[in-house]
């Protein structure tokens, strides 16, 4: 079998007596958009944190482009092209928006040697433009609304020109209009191309989301977690029909 873009192998993680992920395995292709769903506490965020090396798994392996990245430092993993975003956004509150994005441009991956700050700033501005918050570039991050913070997260992720983007509840706390906008940005990013000085290859994505209707529209495949175990893995149409998923997650009424 040809090596997969991302291979998650038999990941176990316990917190004390609590099993957060139990023998989780799945593969992801270079161009795939994967939805990760499951009830609260199913281990979705833990799984992302295991992939980015914030948490170390008790056992199991993560391979990225054939390379074992389990146990590597987070910044090393990020530099290989995996961009994480946060569920509860954590900007550098006392820095202006533009500086927040510039920080992500500083990683060795997206940084050419000897680039002067002005160049970095221009790149960061393009990322803000992409996310649609360039008009607020000079404001402090602590003044942003929930929706704008989400967009800042997207801008930060775009700025590192990732190959794999991890989105933790990109629609969380957004109004329906904002959700549509966000879905459009995600789709545009996935298509790839040039955004000003930034170049996107069109990253693969793993998206955790509770708003299933919106999620179904942008993903190719869905993995369902329940109590740390994968109970279903397949295209969205099949997932919504899967009786086990309906029982564990969707409830009696379905979507």
């Amino acid at each position: 079998m040809a090596e997969s873009f991302l291979e998650v192998h038999d990941l176990h993680k316990n917190f004390g007596g609590l099993t957060a992920t139990n023998s989780v395995s799945f593969n992801l292709d270079r161009k795939e958009v994967l939805g990760l769903i499951g009830p609260n506490g199913a281990g979705k965020t833990t799984l992302l944190r295991l992939i980015t090396g914030i948490l170390k798994p008790d056992s199991g392996k993560v391979l990225f482009k054939g390379e074992d990245i389990t146990g590597k430092k987070t910044w090393e993993i990020v530099n290989k092209g995996i961009a994480p975003t946060f569920q509860n956004m954590r900007p550098f509150r006392r820095l202006p928006i533009i500086a927040n994005v510039m920080v992500s441009c500083l990683s060795p991956r997206s940084m050419k040697r000897g680039e002067w700050v002005k160049k970095v700033e221009a790149k960061a501005m393009d990322a803000l433009e992409f996310a649609g918050i360039s008009d607020m570039a000079l404001e402090k991050a602590s003044t942003l609304s929930q929706g704008d913070l989400k967009r800042l997260e997207v801008a930060r992720a775009v700025a590192t020109e990732p190959e794999l983007l991890l989105l933790d509840e990109p629609f969380g706390g957004l109004s329906p209009a904002e959700t549509d906008l966000m879905a459009k940005s995600i789709a545009r990013l996935h298509k790839g191309g040039r955004f000003g000085r930034l170049h996107s290859e069109g990253p693969a994505m793993i998206i955790i989301e509770h708003k299933l209707q919106q999620l179904m529209k942008i993903v190719d495949r869905i993995v369902v977690l329940d109590f740390g175990t994968i109970i279903a893995d397949g295209p969205p149409q099949e997932i919504v029909k899967n009786p086990e998923v309906i029982e564990a997650y969707l409830g009696k009424g379905g979507v």
Binding site: I54, W75, P91, R93, S104, L106, M111, T160
Partner: protein, 289 residues
């Protein structure tokens, strides 16, 4: 008299500002309360004395060598003594106290408790409105102001400066943005010790070099950092001039009472903290997160 106080206050303020900014940077980025910060400032002063007086090097060369050696010493100490125990903040605090005492004892044993001095870079003085102001004082003032501008440029306009400011705010997120936080911490230590050493080079002709010369600046620096608000660079800057001028006023107005200078500085600090517990430019912790 008035002019004396202004010049002296400005120099003291600038020196304290440079020390306090270096201290704040390491505190913010690496979470190290570096009690040895001013002991490294003393080390630079001693090395300049050794280079210029004992080895007969030209003063400028001695100064440059002293700065480089002090930075190297700082980095070695950081890698050997501090980094292995970095997880334990109390242990780090005690380790930096130990480093400071060690440096003091080394200089005490090598040179005794004598008051040593380094000649000025430029001789001569200027008389303005009846006050004698040596060129060395003016030079020290000019250089320290240039350094402060340089530090500001470095922090606001360079990549490393941005990396440093962001890591100081949130290490975990900086890490998630692909930043090698440990390397940033190492560079910060180098910058901070470099600032302390250069400050030492600027003022060493104006002060006496002796093994306890690190104590007074340490007290002033800690008072300034608390007064300005922990971790705030602007706070350190403003606090430094407030306490620098307070010290000059005490020294010039009460020639017999200059031993009071520490207590005046600390009293100013307490007064400010009574009114604003988070310091002049501090952020209250709820707002932080």
């Amino acid at each position: 008299m008035l002019l004396d106080i202004i010049i002296d206050g400005l120099i003291k303020g600038s020196v304290y500002a440079l020390l306090a900014i270096g201290f704040s940077l390491v505190l913010g980025v690496a979470r190290i309360i570096n009690i040895a910060h001013t002991a490294l400032f003393m080390t630079a002063a001693y090395l300049i004395y050794i280079g210029s007086k004992l080895m007969g090097l030209p003063l400028l060369l001695a100064m440059a060598a002293a700065v480089v050696l002090t930075v190297l010493l700082g980095l070695v100490v950081y890698r050997l003594f501090i980094q292995p125990i970095q997880e334990h903040e109390a242990a780090v605090l005690i380790a930096t106290i130990a480093v400071a005492m060690m440096l003091q004892e080394v200089f005490l044993m090598s040179f005794g408790g004598h008051y040593l001095g380094v000649p000025p870079l430029v001789d001569g003085y200027l008389t303005i409105m009846g006050a004698k102001i040596t060129y060395q004082h003016l030079l020290a003032l000019g250089l320290s102001l240039v350094m402060l501008v340089g530090v500001r440029f470095f922090l606001m306009q360079t990549r490393l400066g941005l990396a440093l400011r962001s890591t100081a705010q949130d290490r975990e997120v900086a890490n998630l943005m692909g930043m090698d936080v440990n390397r940033v911490a190492l560079l910060t230590v180098a910058v901070s010790v470099g600032l302390a050493a250069m400050t030492g080079a600027i003022v060493v002709p104006l002060i006496t070099v002796e093994p306890t010369m690190w104590m007074h600046p340490l007290i002033m620096m800690l008072a300034i950092v608390v007064l300005g608000g922990l971790g705030s660079i602007e706070g350190s800057f403003v606090g430094a001039y407030i306490l620098g001028f307070a010290e000059s006023l005490v020294v010039f107005m009460l020639p017999m009472g200059s031993f009071l200078k520490d207590s005046v500085a600390l009293s100013v600090m307490i007064l400010v903290l009574l009114i604003r517990p988070e310091g002049l430019f501090g952020v209250s912790f709820e707002e932080e997160r």
